[in-house]
């Protein structure tokens, strides 16, 4: 920092003409490392502002949720750092915000009837996305990548649902599933009062009906990601495989698919996150009123926190459970990403 070159580094173009090649070399190296006060201020602002925003809008709410999950706060008044046993109210009337220990978690796991169905439905959602939507998207991508006639039209059609908001998709499919005048029941003649199928109301059917909607969109999303990956595959790899006598099946699975590994990781993470944050379709379909058979963790969180009485402590506990589950794929992804950087 104290070398003679330092002042020159900051003063810019003016002094450059008289410096020899050797000095230039050393200066160029230093320019990378040595920053003026102004540069450092700019850097501090560029790093500091996003960091502050990140702390304020991501870390603070996350940690506050964890903290609140150990209280019985109802959103009214301050949170006291005293045990709830210290407060006495008439039964049923809420106590002021107070420390409630792990009671919220205990209630979620044992008493709250929507919890385990919600976990199960989130798992089913994930399973269907991995086993149905992703292979379907991959199939579409491979078919379109082969350059079928009109592939651009297919590509646009299949991608169209991704451009719609999930709320809109929920409304569109309601016309398809409606019991009295919906498309399916009308076509199969089950729209009479005696024989109609209640696709969205029946707790044994509605999750699967919603998953069809979700896959309709997710497959298009996966398709686009894979298409991008396939376009990047070196054509000479395919030619080499063909020359070696591999058929199309072998070429894809043995040669092309392994080179798609980074895309696969991205898709896996996207799939896991999409299935954990599944909310919009269910919320739209049930009009905010929980429909049996459609319990999801995200819906339970919303239901506890939004409403006439706000069980913010309990809702936060459910949110923390969702956070812990989400951390698994996030950590996996970060671990993958950093490992690739190190290599």
């Amino acid at each position: 920092m104290t070398s003679a070159a330092t002042p020159a580094a900051g003063s810019g173009a003016g002094s450059g003409a008289k410096v020899g090649p050797a000095a230039t070399k050393s200066r160029r190296r230093r320019r990378v490392r040595i920053l003026t006060r102004r540069d450092r201020l700019v850097l501090a602002a560029l790093i500091g502002v996003p960091l502050l925003l990140d702390l304020a809008f991501v870390w603070f709410p996350a940690l506050a949720s964890v903290g609140l999950s150990f209280t019985s706060w109802t959103g009214v008044g301050p949170v006291h750092l005293k045990s709830c046993n210290a407060f006495h109210t008439l039964p049923g009337l809420p106590k002021p915000g107070c420390v409630y220990g792990v009671q919220n978690y205990h209630q979620a796991f044992t008493v709250y009837p929507a919890f385990w169905p919600a976990v199960r439905h989130n798992a089913i959602w994930l399973g269907v996305f991995i086993l149905v939507a992703t292979p379907l998207g991959m199939l579409f991508a491979v078919l379109i990548d082969r350059g079928l006639r009109g592939s651009r039209i297919y590509q646009s059609l299949l991608f169209l649902p991704v451009m719609l908001s999930l709320a809109l998709i929920g409304i569109i499919w309601e016309f398809v599933y409606a019991p009295d005048r919906g498309l399916i029941n009308t076509v199969i003649g089950r729209n009479q009062n005696s024989n109609q199928i209640d696709w969205l109301g029946n707790p044994h059917l509605n999750l699967w009906a919603i998953l069809v909607e979700a896959c309709w969109r997710q497959a298009g999303y996966v398709m686009v990601l894979y298409l991008a990956g396939l376009k990047a595959v070196d054509p000479s790899l395919r030619e080499a495989a063909t020359v070696d006598g591999a058929n199309a099946w072998q070429t894809f699975w043995r040669v092309v698919f392994p080179t798609l590994r980074p895309i696969n990781v991205v898709i896996l993470v996207v799939t896991v996150i999409e299935s954990l944050r599944a909310f919009d379709l269910v919320y739209i379909t049930s009009k905010g009123n929980p429909l049996r058979g459609l319990e999801l963790l995200s819906v339970s969180v919303t239901q506890s926190i939004v409403g006439e009485t706000q069980r913010i402590g309990f809702g936060s506990a459910l949110g923390v459970v969702l956070l812990v589950i989400s951390l698994v794929p996030i950590s996996m992804f970060l671990w993958q990403a950093f490992r690739r950087e190190e290599r």
Partner: protein, 451 residues
């Protein structure tokens, strides 16, 4: 060459800085619309409501207040507007009304009362009132009741009080939960009004033979079926038991609750199928179209949903007797009214308006355009009452006690828990499911009531 590298470096430095400047100015630009938005929202009212001023105009020194209303449907909104316009001239207070969608208003009530609420707001009687009064979010209005107390009977007075015995609500109307039917259907088929459970069940059987759905029924909205639980409990176990159950002084695993579900089990074959996927308006339409013979729900819904030309054909009877000990002594008759939020502005002017609203004259004004609710002032028979309303007054005053409906008689969380349990009962009304439901209800009640 060095020249080049240096000038490149220098120019890139300039570029970087100019880019930064550009970002800063862009941020400043984007802050302008932000400021405009902020200005807009500060003049608007919380909750995104629409503001309509009371028409009276000439406020004679009483000041002006704002009134938060959840009467968002067109007809109640019109009734409320005429009430407010009278209040403006009678109380000498200028009132502007902020109407917010019914459900949005209820869902936001907690943050609304803690934020910047209006001077007055619409709300409900019973436990749902006590819940918010106990959290110190409402102002007591005992001084208003000193003046209007003579207009109301003791039951109404009790409903308007918080758990601390102070008044927090001025009621405006209530409505009965009864069994509706079309007079023409009963005439044509020679049906008679059932007085007892056995008569009720045999009427249902007869209706099925006559290709009618005996009881139109819907539960997609969640709350309508709570009414059936309430009335069965009131008929089988009586009012005191029902209220004690609502306050969790009786466990949900009690035999009395089992009896209620058993009775309901007997009724299930006569209720309209796949109710969990149907909204109540569709069930009411089935009754209006004479596909269904009867429907048990509030007059505030069924009568309000009827078209004017069919309303004359609509009639009702109180739910039939099950246990002779309680006969037909009780029913759900939910009461709506108005509260004074603690953080509201100009409480003195607001109290003047409440004093006016607590009069028979105000209720009659409100009911001019409302043909399904009835006023709660003693002895009020508004000149505009139709047959349904006149009969409602008689039916409610014939009761020894009226409950408010499950979502107003218990903690809201408990009502929410019961909604999903009752939906599961409708899907599977088997005896084994009944015991599962009772156990889950009791477990949840314990955690909700923290006892």
């Amino acid at each position: 060459m060095p020249d080049l590298s240096d000038s490149l470096a220098g120019s890139s430095g300039v570029n970087r800085r100019s880019v930064l400047k550009g970002i800063a100015s862009a941020a400043a630009l984007s802050a302008v619309p932000g400021a405009v938005l902020a200005a807009c929202s500060s003049s608007g009212k919380p909750g995104g409501g629409t503001t309509t001023s009371g028409s009276g105009g000439a406020a004679s020194g009483g000041g002006s207040i704002t009134f938060g209303s959840n009467y968002s449907d067109p007809q109640p909104k019109a009734a409320f507007a005429s009430l407010i316009s009278n209040a403006t001239s009678k109380a000498g207070v200028k009132v502007s009304v902020n109407t917010v969608d019914h459900n949005t208003f209820q869902n936001n009530i907690s943050s609304y009362l803690q934020g910047t609420p209006d001077s007055l707001a619409t709300w409900f009687a019973g436990y749902r009132l006590q819940f918010f009064a106990a959290q110190n979010l409402l102002s007591p209005i005992d001084d208003v009741w000193d003046k209007i107390g003579g207009n109301f009977n003791d039951a109404t007075k009790a409903l308007s009080k918080g758990a601390d015995g102070k008044y927090y609500l001025v009621p405006i109307y209530n409505y009965p939960w009864v069994v509706f039917y079309n007079k023409s259907t009963f005439q044509k088929n020679g049906y008679t009004i059932p007085k007892t459970w056995d008569e009720f069940i045999s009427l249902c059987k007869q209706m099925q033979k006559d290709k009618l759905i005996p009881l139109a029924f819907a539960e997609k909205d969640g709350w309508p079926a709570l009414g059936t639980f309430d009335i069965l409990n009131l008929r089988i176990n009586g009012y005191d038991y029902h209220i004690r159950l609502m306050q969790h002084k009786v466990p949900w695993t009690d035999k009395g609750v089992t009896d209620v579900f058993k009775q309901w089990q007997e009724l299930m074959p006569y209720l309209q199928n796949s109710a969990n996927g149907r909204i109540w308006q569709d069930a009411a339409t089935a009754l209006e179209n004479k596909q269904a013979g009867m429907m048990f729900q509030g007059s505030n819904q069924v009568a309000a949903n009827y078209s004017a030309k069919n309303l004359a054909d609509l009639d009702f009877f109180p739910y039939p007797e099950i246990n002779p000990q309680w006969a037909q002594d009780f029913m759900d008759a939910p009461t709506d009214g108005f509260i004074l939020p603690k953080k509201g502005t100009n409480p003195d002017a607001a109290k003047k308006v409440l004093e006016y609203i607590g009069s028979a004259d105000a209720e009659a004004t409100f009911l001019k355009t409302d043909h399904w609710d009835v006023g709660v002032a003693q002895g009020l028979v508004a000149p505009t009452y139709n047959a349904i309303q006149k009969k409602s007054v008689e039916a409610i005053s014939a009761c020894k006690s009226v409950s408010q409906f499950m979502d107003r008689d218990t903690v809201p969380d408990m009502a929410t828990a019961m909604i999903s349990l009752i939906q599961s009962f409708i899907d599977d009304p088997s005896t084994s499911n009944i015991s599962k439901i009772q156990k889950s209800a009791e477990d949840q009640a314990k955690s909700i009531f923290q006892s």
